[in-house]
């Protein structure tokens, strides 16, 4: 009987302590997350205008300033062109050796995981 009472006491105290500690941990993690997000929302100090090397008189429209943490449309366009060009060059060199991972390998499977994840993250799409 003593042993059962001891076991029940251990269960109540043990699980109580574990839950209490983990609730505290959860609150701390939420606090850190909140501070982190708050730090990100703080607007950056205005930077000095970068010097340009455009020739005088050249027809040039100043790109729209991007929101903090965002890329300008010009930069996105430049990156897109670079990616397309790169893909075209690689396609031109197309050969069986271009395949980075064998179908059926673990790395190949990760692509399936990516598809599943993106599918799950689009709840607005009709199933």
């Amino acid at each position: 009987m003593d042993n059962i009472a001891f076991g029940l006491w251990m269960t109540v105290m043990g699980m109580g302590t574990v839950f209490l500690l983990l609730v505290l941990l959860m609150l701390m993690l939420r606090g850190i997350g909140w501070l982190d997000q708050r730090g990100k929302r703080t607007p950056p100090t205005p930077s000095h205008t970068a010097p340009t090397d455009h020739a005088a008189g050249e027809d040039f429209t100043e790109p729209e300033p991007a929101a903090p943490g965002e890329l300008t449309p010009e930069l996105i366009a430049a990156i897109s062109i670079a990616v397309i060009t790169h893909a075209r060059v690689r396609r031109g060199q197309a050969a069986p050796a271009m395949r980075q991972v064998q179908p059926g390998s673990q790395l190949f499977a990760s692509r399936w995981v990516s598809v599943g994840r993106s599918y799950q993250n689009q709840p607005w799409k009709a199933r």
């Binding site: 059962i4 043990g14 983990l22 993690l29």
Partner: protein
Amino acid sequence: MSPETLAQLLQGITNITWQSVVMMLIGGLLILLAVVKEYEPLLLLPIGAGAILTNLPLSPLVGEGGMLSILYNVGVSNELFPLIIFIGIGALTDFGPLLENPKMVLLGAAGQFGIFLTLILALLLGFNRSEAASIGIIGAIDGPTSIYVSGILAPHLVGPITVAAYSYMALVPLIMPPVMRLLTTKAERSIKMPYTQREISQRTRILFPIIVTVAVGIAVPFATPLIGMLMLGNLMRESKVVERLTHASANELANVVTLFLGLAIGSTMKGVDFLQLGTLAILGLGLLAFFLDTATGVLFGKLMNVFSGGKFNPLIGAAGISAFPMAARVVQKEASREDFSNFILMHAMGANAAGQVASVIAGGVLLALMGAG
């Protein structure tokens, strides 16, 4: 040839006992599981080899000056090896999914119920309090924690407890699904949970191990060695400034210590001491602990489902144990089994990472309640 010389030549054969033969067969079985089934081969293979080497007649590897005994004294009796392995685990673990969704921490706590329920059952079976607590820790589903806690509370049970912990951990894909299916409905298993990845800054990732160590260390000093080493490994990983140390901890150091630990644990499986009714009871209770952990995790998941208005998939509760990342994978597999397009892996990973932390805390709490020092 004199009879003495003959006896000396044949002493290997004459000293074979049925217990040593059975233990060598058990060692062979562990090696078979490791090689053929690939169940936790990194540990089961050295443990099996250690068991065979120990039970060979008049084995010079055990006893005073024997290599296996030296390994045991150097790393198991003083809990050094499990702690070093924890550095490697910390260096390998990504707590990102947990940081993205802190409420998953609660599922980690629910996954520890099995420890205490098994403890009660062990007491009912006649084990003393220290032994019962050591057997209960199998329910942490965490090999190094099991070795650490049982090494302090009941060193004579380290062998069977370790074998039970690692063997059943390898069997998680077989143990968990029936319990999960039994306790959930098809509709519950099919609940989809949208996942929105939140960017976690490096500052947060670095602060996490430091804060957890200090907070847990102050609240439960007995957990400091376990949580401290786990978080040290994670701090090295997330700081990104000690790549060499991180790599060494997660690979070379962890591999070497795993080999030594496996051999040392195998050396505790001496037939005369191991083949007792108590060992069978420990193996049975260990299995029960795994079932109870899964069941309480799923039931807590169902509770969260009620509080969330039916938006929480209860299967995720089963991932709140320490078998990382196997438990999360099993949960995802079960969800996919009902609905191929259901993707709850990242939520399950969060719960699984929480289980990693919670098992260490539970081990420390158990030691504190037992007044171990």
